[in-house]
Structures are given as C-alpha cells and as structure tokens.
Symmetry: C2
Subunit: 295 residues, 2 copies
C-alpha cells in the first residue's frame, strides 16, 4: 500500500466513525441535512480528525470519548469552507471537483448549512460528556475547540484575510493569517487528542508547538500547489492567488524557499514527535504525506 492509499484507508475509518454522527433529520427542515451531508461527504482528506485520533492513541487513549470531537473538528472545518466559498467571501464555484454548496442549493441554504454545521459541531462534542468519567478533560477539550475555531483562532485569520484582500502584506501578517486561519484547527486537533487522553497541560502545549509547524507547512504547501499544481489534481482552478493579487508565503519568498520551508517545518515536527513515539508510526507517514501531497 502506498502512503497515499494508507491515508485514504485511514480516512475511510474516520468516516465510519464521524458520518453516523451526522444528524438524522426527518422533519420539515430535512433539506438542511442534504446540504450538510453534501459538503461533509465532498471528498475531504480528514486530516484533522486523523491527527486528533493518532495523538489521542499516542497518549494512551482508548475510549469512545474522542469520537464526538473527531466529528466536531471536521464539521467546523467543513462549515468554514461553505462560508468561505459564498459570493460575499471568496465566491468560489468549485471545490474538490464538486460544485460548492451555494451553487447547488442557493446562498441562504448554504449560509444556514454552515451555521448548522458549526452549531452541530459543538452539539456533537457535548455528547462526549456521556462517554467519560473524566469530565474535566472533556471540558478542557471543549474550551480548546472553541478558542481555536473562534476569533482568537480560525475566524480571526479569516477576518484579516478578508480585510487585507488584494492589498500587499508583510511576512508578519501572512504568517498571522496562516497561523490563525489554517494552523488553528490543526493545533486544536492534536491538543484535543492529548487533552482527552488525560495528558497534562505541559504535554498539551508541546502538541500545540508541533501542530503549529504542521499547520504552517500545510498552508504553505497549499500556496505552492496553487502555483505548480494542476486543476485536475486539485479539483479547483489553479493560479487563483496570483489572479487575486494575494500575498502568500510563496509570493513573498518564491517557490524554492517555500518548498524548503515546508520541508524544514515537517522535519522539525517529526523530530519533536519522536520524543513521544517511534519514527515508524503512522502519524509520521501522515506528516510526510502532507508535504508530498498533490491536492
């Protein structure tokens, strides 16, 4: 099995856990389920729940308490894509080779489906309290989820991204946006995995540092693929950053420096992770895959 096939197989395991947690709506409001389901099953790589799951196991976690949070982090990631794609935001018609939610279901329903997924993420995460006697750990995980998804995390990055649209940015601001908009949810994934397994605050902070490197590398790789990738591989138009005059790590430093930075960040993350696990662990492969990916 190639690394890509291995990650895809693990993503399927994730789906077996998280998709049954989607709401079973049979009332007059059932359309919203269709929109939520359409976007949740639109070919995401499940990077965040995978990282959360692996980190949870790495710290010795063995219970079902992790499952609602795995679903929650993917729901939050998905809602953010729906809202990002709306006409008043990035106005994107395609993602992962499929029409975006507002193109298929209209803007109002896409807006509500995003709201619904964000809300349902917390609704789902709250179910974790039924699966554990360590309520304090679940409470800590809930607080991390809120912080990393909100104004001090992902939304904070989206705000600056929108405000600075088309303007030239400093490297400092590019790093702020990348860290908030992209790395935050990846940080949340590993921090929550650790917290729910009963890791101490020191260990949770270590996971934050490691996952921030992974998150930054992930975003820079995205920017690289927007330049050197193909539309077929990405499932969306390439060259959009250049077209929109978007300042990125790549536009500031060039492709080669960006590629070197991705490599550096991933190697550092892996080295630090070796304090906790062996180098032949799946999480190491997962990180390598994140650098080598073509989409």
């Amino acid at each position: 099995m190639t690394m890509r096939e291995e990650v895809a197989a693990r993503a399927k395991e994730v789906d077996k856990i998280i998709m049954p947690m989607m709401p079973d709506i049979i009332g007059p409001q059932k359309t919203i389920y269709e929109v939520m389901e359409y976007t949740m099953s639109a070919g995401g790589k499940r990077i965040r729940p995978l990282l959360m799951w692996e980190t949870y196991k790495m710290f010795g976690g063995t219970s079902k308490v992790i499952e609602p949070f795995m679903a929650a982090i993917e729901m939050i990631h998905t809602y953010s894509l729906i809202h990002d794609d709306l006409p008043c935001m990035d106005n994107d018609d395609y993602r992962r080779g499929k029409k975006t939610a507002h193109v298929v279901y209209g803007e109002a329903m896409a807006l509500l489906a995003g709201d619904a997924l964000l809300n349902f993420a917390f609704e789902t995460a709250a179910k974790a309290f039924n699966y554990t006697d360590h309520l304090q750990d679940a409470a800590k995980a809930m607080q991390i989820l809120g912080q990393k998804a909100g104004v001090f995390g992902m939304i904070g990055g989206q705000v600056v991204d929108i405000e600075m649209e088309g303007k030239p940015l400093t490297m400092e601001l590019v790093e702020f946006i990348d860290r908030k908009k992209t790395a935050s949810l990846i940080e949340a994934s590993m921090m929550i995995g650790a917290a729910l397994a009963g890791a101490g605050d020191g260990e949770i902070q270590m996971m934050k540092r490691i996952s921030r490197k992974i998150g930054m590398a992930f975003q820079i790789q995205d920017d690289i693929l927007d330049v050197i990738g193909t539309e077929e591989e990405l499932g969306k138009p390439v060259g959009s950053d250049a077209k929109n005059n978007k300042t990125t790590y790549v536009s500031l430093t060039g492709i080669e420096n960006a590629q070197a930075e991705v490599k550096r960040l991933c190697e550092e993350a892996k080295q630090q992770l070796e304090l906790f696990i062996g180098e032949d662990d799946f999480i190491m492969d997962l990180i390598t895959y994140l650098i080598d990916r073509k989409n």
Copy 2:
C-alpha cells in the same frame, strides 16, 4: 417603577454580567470585535438571559456558573439576527432603529461576525466548567444549548421559514416555524437555568413546557405588532409580513384571535409557574411585559 422600567433595569444588570464576557481583541483581527460589539449592544431586551437567570434563582441557584450561559444565549440570539438580516436571507437594513451589521460593515464582515458570535457563545459557555464542581449539570446545559440552537431547534425553524418564503402555509407549519425559530431559544433559557441549578430531568421538562408557551406567545405578539405597531415604536418598518405574503398566526386567524391566543398562552404559563413560585415574583411581571410590549 413601571413594569417596562423594571424590565429595562434588570436588562442593565444582565448587561453588567454579559458584556464584560465579550472578547478583548487587540490583534490584527480587531475589526471583528467592533462588529460583534455593535450588534450585541444594539438595544436588545435581554429576554433570554433574564428568563435564564430568573429560572436559575427560582431553583435555588446562587453561583456564577449561570453567567457564561446567560452571555452565550444572547450571543446566539444576536448571531441569528445578523445572519437573518443578510441580503441572501431577509435583506433587512434596519433593526431596533439601527442600521444592520452588513449595511455598516459589509456582507463578509457581517457573515464572519455572526459566525464569531455563534462560536464565541460555545467558547463562553465552556468557561462555566471552571465555575462549578457539578460538571454533569454544566454538560447537560451545554447539550441543551446545542440542541435548541441547531437543526433540531432554531436553525431548523429558519430553514423551513426560508424554504416556504412567499408560499401559503398550513397552521401546522406556521406553528412548527414559530416553535423552532423563536420558542427554541426561550426553551433553552429556562431549561438551562433549571439544569445549572441542579434541577432534575422532570423539572427541566416542566420548564420546557412552560417556556414553549412563553415562546409561542412571544412570536405571535411579534406578528401582531407587525400589523398594529408603529415604525417609531418598533425601530423597523411595519407591515413587512403582509408585504412579503408571509403566512403567520395573525394572517391565518386574524388579530383578535391572535391576541386571545397570546393571552391564553401567557396565563397558562403563569399558572404553571405558580407551582414553583409566588405570583408576585419578577418572572411573572416579565411574562406580563412580554404580552403587553409595544416593541
């Protein structure tokens, strides 16, 4: 002090509790704080946190654990107004006599401020775990909040409301929309107040029945005011339901029957509440105020 002044005074006490819980944002994303603050302080009556607080005290609650949830319910109410007012939804330019968020700050920032308030509501509610040793009660409150705000609650009502726009509706569907879109958060308020004070599941269900009556009466009163109120009192254009061919309880049964229904629901709610408190309690005045209000 008139009843209106009494409610306004209590709302100020609520504000002293909930407004300091708003995020203190000083980084590059600080614009979002301005939008969140603008809408949170746009003259809401604070009905939901007031009902939550009174119910909490009614069941003997005395700690600060209620405070994050009081803020959370008002944040969720406020985000739902921002998103409801967006051009792709109801496209309203005024609310409570002030320009709506998207008119002042643009659609993208209004969308993100709504997302931010919804997220921050859960982020804030999660802080309640730091104020109590009864983590199970806080977990129950968190689950109620998620359920009543989401696809099985408020958002479920918004979905049907949008899908059925301009179409003739049966009374059954009108009641579904009113119950989900409006009553859900009022149910959440009283149920959470009870849950955090340590009430049993039976008592929480009783609060659900009582608050549903209050919520339905509240929505029908809104529909009545849209017909007989004045723009000056309401702070927004009147007659919008008729203009938009919106089927409401009033359009189906007429003003007089609607007024009788509001009175009946409120009297029943008060009678049932008397099982728990005396008839001279503030919560009784609050319900009377909700019927008699002009805005």
